[in-house]
Assembly symmetry: C2
Homo-oligomer: 344 residues x 2
């Protein structure tokens, strides 16, 4: 019997929590040279991934992430009922061209860099709602396709302010399943709940400071999550945001402190973990849909499968930046989506 | 008890089908002058909707569609647990800026012009899965914001080939609910099932012939829907596609004929219905996310509430066109999403 529960204002808990039975991470060269480089399944040295354009390169990352996760889980594309995915590019072209050969029914999602949280939330809802036995949640980003779309041509060699982040090149995918895997690869990790974000807009217009744009959305999500479930931050071994970076982390901690929650002790940000900013010239940290996705599917799930962390609140964060709205003088509204990962 | 069923390869049926308790349609001037103009809730004469940019105009259409549907349903934003929506613009800016003041948890979706099918599919799944009592599914398009993004500046006055369609200016929204409305406004209409589309790519590269790009996706969706549910086309009073137009309709009927299904008798296309092409210079017909959305939320649901049609397969169709991928020589892949509407 399916017994899902609406929790508080914007959360749900799952009667039968879906398992993350397998995960894959395909990373770029720079990410491979960073502090968590040793945890990735594949590090691609060629920025074009053997393709002809940056966009094609990003599509290939997604394609390889799916192939890899299917292979690791010993599954065929026909075993997957839905694919939930998206990326940063207009009209989600990295996803469309990356996944089309698998012929899996698709829900295309856009949550900017929060996409992995959105896809895992909806994917879990579909499984725990009885609509699927197995789904794949996926996303990607690519430094060069993102710079080309959102900022300057690479050849221009613009200076980047210290608040700017570095878009991660990589794609991460998970297979969510109604049943646990019979493969022994460490502890079972389940998604026990999800909190869905609202658009939060503090009026910030600085496209070179995504951390400041997204921190209020992350704070709102985490605050509402803790309130909905009546939990304290120390319920979690880690509360992990997607790509706030150093600037955003400070704002996040401050806002939550004002609201009565101290997360300083157990907060971690994927954008801070993924690069060694002193030696890799990445300024505020990593960003992009791929940042939280490949950190989850390598380092974070590694820690959980070893039971070093048993309860994690995973909160990818997205700045809904568009050059059109930005050039028309608009703000950069943001959103975050949270999923509860627990060792079962 | 929740009792949803996976049907065939890519469909589901709902144990407790969600009700469409209310709908709203905000249309542009040209749409208001068309054959179904009399069915819209509002016709906006000003192409800018009182805003400063085309994108802002489109955001205002979404904002008004939500306000209108809430008012018609006598609901407050806090009564709505999730908003599922998207649009054609890069990074979904029409949606982000259109809906942010309502402060409703958001799942941002991208399915090009199939978005209304995607949002209603997922919205129904969330309700029938026990995650929400009420959700809003919404989408929009605007002729000028779409032309600006995908084709030529309006001031250039380019010639449009006869296979080209005319992007509909409008926004449609529905409130889906676990329980029927106590308001008497005609028959109750439920969503009893959904079929989720795959990306279909026949290699077509003509961005001025969206009908030909999308028809194979519509055919694949309808074929798989009928096969999954073991139904004949005449199970439905109408099988309604989103925006194939005259060119796409012919291809759709032909492909399905070859696969053994004759839908000629009961097929209808929103793109054909919404404009009087002989007198409105709209060539192949209407298109855009708003095309199927406002036809559904005016004419189609009017027919169903009067019980002139009792069973409808509603199949919005989307061409995943991007100027970046198109200019790099890529094809225009397509997708369609189907929902089963039944008078209960």
């Amino acid at each position: 019997m399916i017994n899902n529960t609406q929790v508080g204002k914007q959360s749900v808990s799952f009667g039968t929590p879906p398992y993350i039975i397998e995960e894959s991470s395909i990373a770029g060269k720079k990410e491979g040279e960073g502090p968590i480089g040793g945890y990735f399944d594949e590090v691609e040295e060629d920025a074009m991934c053997g393709g002809k354009t940056w966009e094609e390169a990003e599509s290939r990352l997604q394609s390889r992430a799916i192939s890899r996760v299917l292979k690791k889980a010993k599954l065929e594309p026909t075993d997957i009922r839905y694919l939930l995915g998206g990326d940063l590019l207009g009209q989600l072209i990295a996803t469309s061209f990356g996944i089309e050969t698998f012929e899996i029914p698709l829900f295309g999602l856009y949550g900017a860099c929060s996409t992995m949280g959105e896809s895992m939330s909806l994917g879990s809802m579909l499984i725990a709602g009885g609509y699927a036995d197995k789904v794949i949640a996926i996303t990607s980003s690519h430094f060069a396709s993102a710079e080309k779309q959102f900022r300057f041509p690479l050849g221009y060699g613009n200076q980047r302010p210290l608040a700017a982040s570095w878009t991660v090149t990589g794609s991460g995918a998970v297979v969510l399943s109604k049943d646990a895997s019979d493969k022994k690869k460490g502890a079972n990790v389940c998604i026990t709940g999800a909190t869905t974000g609202k658009i939060i807009d503090y009026g910030i217009k600085d496209s070179m400071n995504m951390g400041a744009c997204m921190a209020p959305a992350a704070a709102d999500l985490i605050f509402n999550h803790l309130t909905d479930f009546n939990r304290k931050p120390d319920y979690y071994d880690k509360i992990i945001t997607g790509d706030l970076g150093y600037v955003g982390q400070e704002i996040l901690v401050d806002i939550l402190q004002e609201k009565g929650y101290n997360i300083e002790e157990n907060h971690m940000d994927c954008g801070i973990e993924i690069f060694d900013t002193d030696n890799q010239d990445t300024h505020a940290g990593g960003s992009g849909c791929g940042c939280s996705a490949i950190t989850l599917t390598s380092f974070i799930l590694h820690k959980m499968r070893k039971e070093e962390w048993k309860k994690v609140l995973f909160v990818p964060t997205g700045a809904l930046l568009s050059t059109v709205s930005f050039n028309e003088g608009n703000t950069v509204p943001s959103i975050a989506h949270g999923v509860v990962l627990e060792v079962m």
